[in-house]
Amino acid sequence: MSIALTTADQPCEHILRAGNTNCAGCGMSLGLQLLEQGLDGARPTLAIPACCGIVTAGAFPTSGYGVPVAATTFASSAAVATGLSTIAELNEETEPVICWAGDGGTYDIGLATLSAAAERNENIIYICYDNEIYGNTGGQRSSATPEGVRTTTTPKGKCEVKKDIMRIMTAHRIPYAATLSIAHREDFLQKIRTAAATRGFRFLLLLSPCPTGWKSEPDESVDLIEYAVRCGLFPLYEVFDGERYRVNVRPDGTPLEEYTSRQRRYTSADVDLGHLQSEILKQWRLLDGLCNAFPAEGKMAGRAPKRN
């Protein structure tokens, strides 16, 4: 039996191939393309747990990735990546090992292995594309889902606040942690370059629009993230060694409503914009306080991982 050669068999310079089956307006797709640009030709090995990102790996012939991908179990992407990076280092390979995981696999089921890999300062770049929902299984809430948002398991709006994964990860004193915006390309690329040039555990958080789950228009995905940054909901910042902070983009007074009104997941009667706005102010007081007390200055050298 002969099989026709398709794009999936061809050598390909892109991490994310054309012809993948991702939804229109998917923030993850744009994130993967910006990741590639930021890596400046490096060819990462990806470890991806259960999430839309592994659906991207896809069925023949629409296989979505042009780099090696290990599909891991839901809870263990950081553990599998630990194994991959350890052997890669022994083989003196220099290409990065990257975990590419959704919020479910990061904030929820994968948090134990993520925390342990960070604590050991494994030589991994961990990127969470956070669409604030279990998009792959039908739109259930996760602990990244914001307060008040409707999902299939919070039909009246979520009661709990969104977990602050950046504070959790920076508490591990990892060499580098940063937030990424698909609407701020240069900032995104610079942070990928910084992460790639740093050794040890690096954590990057990407707010990733999901038009299906957010009930937004696909052509507004980039605008939504721009509004999220400008209104202060999603701060763009970096943390070095868990103790030196730098804010990259400051809010400009854009009303929160610019962001929420374009997503029907925010239509619950329980959504209190005044309350959400006060939460944003609290978040910025904390961030500004940390930046003032522990500013990031000069050249940043990450903590090199140690092996016993």
């Binding site: 599909a71 839901f74 929820d108 089921i109 279990y134 809430r141 602990s143 398991t153 919070t154 039909p155």
Partner: protein, 377 residues
């Protein structure tokens, strides 16, 4: 009243009818709609629903709630059953009533998230270290899912054990017309309370190995200790070999000695038939259609559908094998796993396995064709 519903919806309706008041689960295809149906069903506050951070938490919460007196259910698929594994052992050792629905899909690992398969039939029985038994039931469609969910709760309550109800992607997600009112249902059973009469000697005390200890909720007016370690009748860790032997014999005997009582099956036996088809789960519909087709052609054929997979319904199987039976055919949506379990019971008769594990279903034509072939054995 005839309704149009999925197997997952039938499970939720039946669970509530059986008194289920606690559900914890984690999203996974094809079980997620049990979670979302419970969100709707418990919106009025008649039960607690929690979407947990993973499957370990889901079953852990259910065990905690059940230890405190709730009727608890969790639901997942093969990958989630893997994560339930350790806690199922705890529920066995602590004799905690609990129902687990496994909406099977193609395995191993992620397998086919949206492809069918019934490869957990052995895994369900041997899911926990130690090898001690737990009852495993298998639904064929929405109607049997409804009936068996109530059975599963009753068995869990009466025998203080985790019970696994197997479903599969096609049973879980296919919408079917069901008349719930026409389904013959057992009375709803509850665990025997510790304060029902005198002579209570502790949360795990039994006179005979197969007896069921009366239940006292943890945190109630009686001191209850719960542990996954080997323990005596009070729930206190023990090194006394006689007590260890008694406890573990009890875990075995309370299930295996009731094998006949736990048998759930549907037999359609033609006394002159030389061919018997044994099936369970998703193959049942195709088998029924194949049997009808063959009978229309004037052929004699028998069918046995097993709803209880563990303990093995040995009596029902032996009764179905009349003295005329020369051939046993067994279609399965896996690599022929359960046929291996039945071979010692059916020997010297051979089992002709029809195996399908590519994510598709076994068709009635395939079964007719196999029955029409000369026996391979």
């Amino acid at each position: 009243m005839r309704e149009f519903m999925t197997g997952n919806q039938a499970v939720v309706r039946a669970a509530i009818r059986a008194g289920c008041n606690y559900f914890a689960g984690y999203p996974i295809t094809p079980a997620s709609s049990i979670l979302t149906e419970f969100v709707k069903a418990f919106a009025d506050g008649r039960g607690t629903i929690v979407q947990t951070e993973d499957e370990i938490a889901a079953i852990g919460q259910c065990i905690g709630a059940a230890m405190a007196g709730a009727k608890a259910l969790t639901a997942s698929s093969g990958p989630g059953l893997s994560l339930y594994s350790e806690n199922i052992g705890l529920a066995q050792m602590a004799e905690t009533p609990l129902v687990i629905v496994d909406c099977q899909r193609m395995g191993p690992s992620t397998g086919g998230a949206t492809a069918t398969g019934e490869g957990d039939v052995m895994f369900a029985r041997f899911v926990s270290g130690g090898g001690y038994p737990l009852p495993v039931l298998a639904a064929c469609d929405a109607a049997t899912a409804y009936r068996l969910t109530i059975d599963a709760f009753n068995i869990a309550e009466r025998f203080r054990t985790p019970v696994i109800l197997l479903s599969s992607k096609d049973v879980a997600l296919t919408r079917q017309t069901v008349d719930l009112g026409a389904i013959e249902l057992p009375e709803v059973a509850d665990r025997s309370p510790h304060d029902d009469g005198d002579g209570w000697r502790g949360p795990y005390a039994v006179d005979q190995p197969a007896d069921i200890p009366r239940f006292a909720p943890i945190g109630g007016d009686t001191l209850v200790r719960v542990t996954g370690s080997i323990h005596d009748e009070r729930g206190v860790l023990t090194n006394d070999r006689a007590k260890i032997q008694a406890k573990l014999t009890h875990l075995f005997e309370k299930i295996e000695s009731r094998a006949e009582e736990l048998e759930r099956f549907d037999a359609d036996i033609d006394p002159i038939a030389e061919t018997l088809i044994i099936c369970y789960g998703g193959a049942d519909g195709a088998v029924r259609e194949a049997v009808a087709t063959m009978r229309e052609r004037g052929e004699a054929i028998s069918r046995l559908t097993l709803y209880t997979l563990w303990p093995i319904a040995a009596r029902a199987i032996r009764d179905a094998v009349t003295w005329r039976v020369r051939r046993v055919i067994m279609p399965e949506l896996n690599i022929g796993l359960y046929a291996d379990a039945l071979r010692p019971i059916l020997a010297p008769l051979a089992i002709e396995s029809i195996r399908r594990y590519d994510g598709g279903l076994i068709s009635p034509e395939t079964i007719c064709e196999q029955a029409g072939n000369e026996a391979i054995a």
